[in-house]
């Protein structure tokens, strides 16, 4: 049994900070790596040690294997935690970490490689008796080959997916043949950027399923448990935005069945450490293996809150060689947890990325609220990386109470300098279909347009207050205003967008 003393965290942003918190609590030193754009990012400020690894572009820093391994060597770390994204599911990286004599906190390179090849993964799952989505397993060489495969599957709609990927990157839904060439090109381009591998494949598109995934955990002896499910159906462009544990609709029997299948899947690929088996769950209650994520998920906190455990600490202990400290029947799940991703995106402008410097930050507090952020006051959100600025997670005794608590917490949150997905999340939580659990991965496409147009209330109060503020500013004594603020109210400040937004209260 190794005792890990120092971990190099081969990541950035909120997940790097999240991992450092567990390190700190375990008395393990945390070494950060950073690109030139990240010198003042939260994960550097939170670290015990920090190593520069190159220019801002991820391909030259966070996806620069040599630079990261050199930082690991220089730091004297005995383990590397990859977080999610970047090299988290890169078997070569895991192999090189192990070849350097360090512990890779995750499954073995062999398992990552197996599950990272979506085609190999499908085959392994089918052999293990895990239900899969109908599709072809080979990487697509050309548009013509794609067309043949699609005919064999029964035609459109189909999904083009990155063979090396996950998280919606390099994924395209194609409903008609004429969209195919552009979709293939775009998917390959994104796949190359995100994973360093342009290979894509195609599978049957299941109409309007829920995305339900099972968190599994396995130790190095081969023991494995499942830690209930997460419903991650609230997605936009295949990017999860709201996740919850447990699902609003799963029966205990179905949970047990899916959990058992997920453990089977884990054992079939000799899994160890934290992993997630993603399923599409259709309207008849059928579920299909989608992919296995061989890493910690963005949405792991909802599982942590319901299970009452720290998955990062558990990852580290398992990586040290410890057996799982509990059996399936020891688990004591409690209540309901919801996570909202606070992404730097302008939800009223087609979710375009919103970059800028955080000029004001007020975090929600109080019972059942957890914030995992990767930013602070004065943080710069750059165009180079993922848009996740923070994750807001709540726990409560029941799902309706968790929804009410999340609305309360979102109401307390205030981030200035960037636009965020908070207004989007508030509207979803307010939607009756969400509240009743009647939603699938098409929820956003179906309802967002109308949700945006909700009318404001308190319009009268707003008018009176606006007039009062104008009057107040006109009548402040000149001495208390800076010269530029004097005549005719104040000059134009940063232009706010004109929006009619529904209030949450």
């Amino acid at each position: 049994m190794t005792k890990i003393q120092k971990i190099l965290i081969a990541n950035r942003g909120e997940i790097a900070v999240r991992i450092m918190r567990s390190c700190r609590e375990m008395g393990i030193r945390a070494a950060a790596v950073y690109s030139e754009a990240d010198r003042l990012s939260a994960h550097v400020l939170a670290a015990d040690e920090a190593y520069p690894i190159g220019p801002a572009a991820a391909a030259q820093s966070y996806l620069n294997m040599d630079a990261i391994l050199e930082a690991a060597r220089k730091s004297g770390a005995d383990a590397v935690h990859p977080g999610y994204g970047f090299f988290a599911e890169n078997a070569d990286f895991a192999q090189r970490v192990e070849d350097s004599g360090l512990i890779f906190i995750g499954p073995s390179p062999q398992t990552i490689r197996l599950m990272g090849s979506k085609t190999e993964a499908r085959k392994t799952m089918m052999d293990a008796g895990v239900p899969v989505v109908p599709g072809a397993r080979e990487a697509l060489a050309s548009v013509e080959e794609a067309q043949q495969v699609i005919e064999y599957l029964g035609g459109f709609p189909v999904l083009i997916k990155a063979a090396a990927g996950g998280g919606g990157k390099g994924m395209r839904l194609v409903r008609e043949a004429k969209e195919l060439p552009r979709a293939l090109e775009a998917a390959k381009g994104e796949a190359l950027k995100a994973f360093g591998d342009a290979a894509v494949y195609v599978e049957k598109f299941i109409e309007s399923p829920k995305h339900i995934e099972i968190q599994i955990f396995a130790d190095r002896r081969g023991d494995a448990v499942h830690l209930w499910e997460r419903d991650c159906s609230i997605q936009r462009r295949h990017q999860k935005v709201i996740e919850e544990c447990p699902s609003a609709i799963l029966t205990p029997e179905k949970r047990a069945e899916m959990g058992q299948v997920a453990v089977q899947a884990a054992k079939a690929c000799r899994y160890s450490n934290a992993g997630t088996v993603e399923f599409l769950y259709d309207r008849e209650g059928n579920f299909y293996f989608l992919e296995m994520n061989t890493r910690l998920q963005v949405e792991h906190p909802v599982t942590e809150m319901v299970m009452g455990m720290d998955l990062v600490k558990l990852q580290i202990r398992v990586a040290e060689g410890h057996p799982l400290p509990f059996r399936q029947e020891d688990l004591r799940p409690r209540g309901h947890a919801i996570e909202c991703r606070i992404n730097a995106e302008d939800v009223f402008n087609n979710f375009v990325p919103s970059t800028g410097k955080i000029s004001y930050l007020k975090l929600p507090e109080g019972p059942g609220v957890r914030v995992d952020s990767g930013v602070g006051l004065h943080s710069e959100i750059s165009r180079f990386y993922d848009p996740i600025a923070a994750k807001l997670v709540v726990w409560a005794e029941t799902r309706p109470e968790a929804i009410a608590r999340m609305k309360r917490a979102l109401g307390e949150l205030r981030i200035e300098g960037i636009d965020t997905t908070a207004p989007f999340c508030l509207r979803v939580l307010d939607h009756p279909e969400f509240q009743q659990g009647n939603f699938n991965i098409n929820f956003v496409d179906r309802y967002w347009q109308q949700m945006q147009q909700s009318l404001p209330d308190e319009a009268e109060a707003a008018e009176i207050i606006a007039a009062a503020i104008a009057y107040y500013r006109d009548h402040q004594s000149a001495s208390t205003l800076s010269p530029s603020e004097n005549a005719n109210h104040a000059p134009a400040l940063s232009p706010w967008k004109t929006r009619a937004l529904k209030t949450m209260r």
Binding site: D346, E463, I464, A466, A470, S494
Partner: protein
């Protein structure tokens, strides 16, 4: 007492305000309001309006107050007497934003340009692709016309609101 003017749809409504130091009385539409307004910092105010409490963020532009109130962003057009006078003398004010410029909705890197100068395009047609935060974002034409000028090229970094393409009719 002073008269201010609230713009509602196309007309201005008179509103009477008096008081000092943030303790104000406001009359509008025949209703009377007691307003207690205290600034917290440059942008934030605590407002107690007839005992209802609001934490308000406000930015004042020339003829408008931009508010954030209970997670609700709103723009309220409000003029003081001098501004009202100016608006009557100078008319409707600034021209509307030109429709013929395609601007960058975000900072990013131009990946591909899918049209050429001189080309006729239809509304909704893809014009170019910007990469930001590892996602490809397709920029489409808001309306049809002819591409007059392309001001960017592939691999060029752009800032939000940079003009990318000019379109004529």
């Amino acid at each position: 007492m002073m008269k201010y003017y609230l713009k509602r749809e196309d007309r201005y409504e008179e509103i009477d305000i008096e008081g000092a130091g943030g303790k104000l009385r406001v009359s509008a539409n025949g209703r009377h309001y007691a307003v207690d307004l205290v600034p917290i910092d440059e942008k934030r105010y605590s407002v107690v309006l007839d005992n209802r409490a609001y934490l308000v963020e406000a930015e004042i532009q020339k003829n408008a107050v931009h508010l954030l109130l209970n997670q609700c962003e709103r723009v309220v057009q409000v003029l003081n007497p001098q501004q009202k006078l100016e608006s009557e003398i100078f008319g409707k004010g600034e021209k509307s934003h030109s429709e013929s410029e395609v601007r960058a909705p975000m900072p990013g890197l131009i990946l591909r340009i899918e049209v050429e100068a001189g080309q006729e395009i239809a509304a909704g047609q893809p014009l170019l692709v910007i990469e930001a935060m590892k996602m490809e974002n397709e920029i489409r034409a808001a309306s049809g016309g002819a591409v007059k000028e392309i001001l960017v090229q592939p691999h060029q970094a752009v800032e939000r609101n940079d003009i990318l393409i000019k379109i004529g009719n």
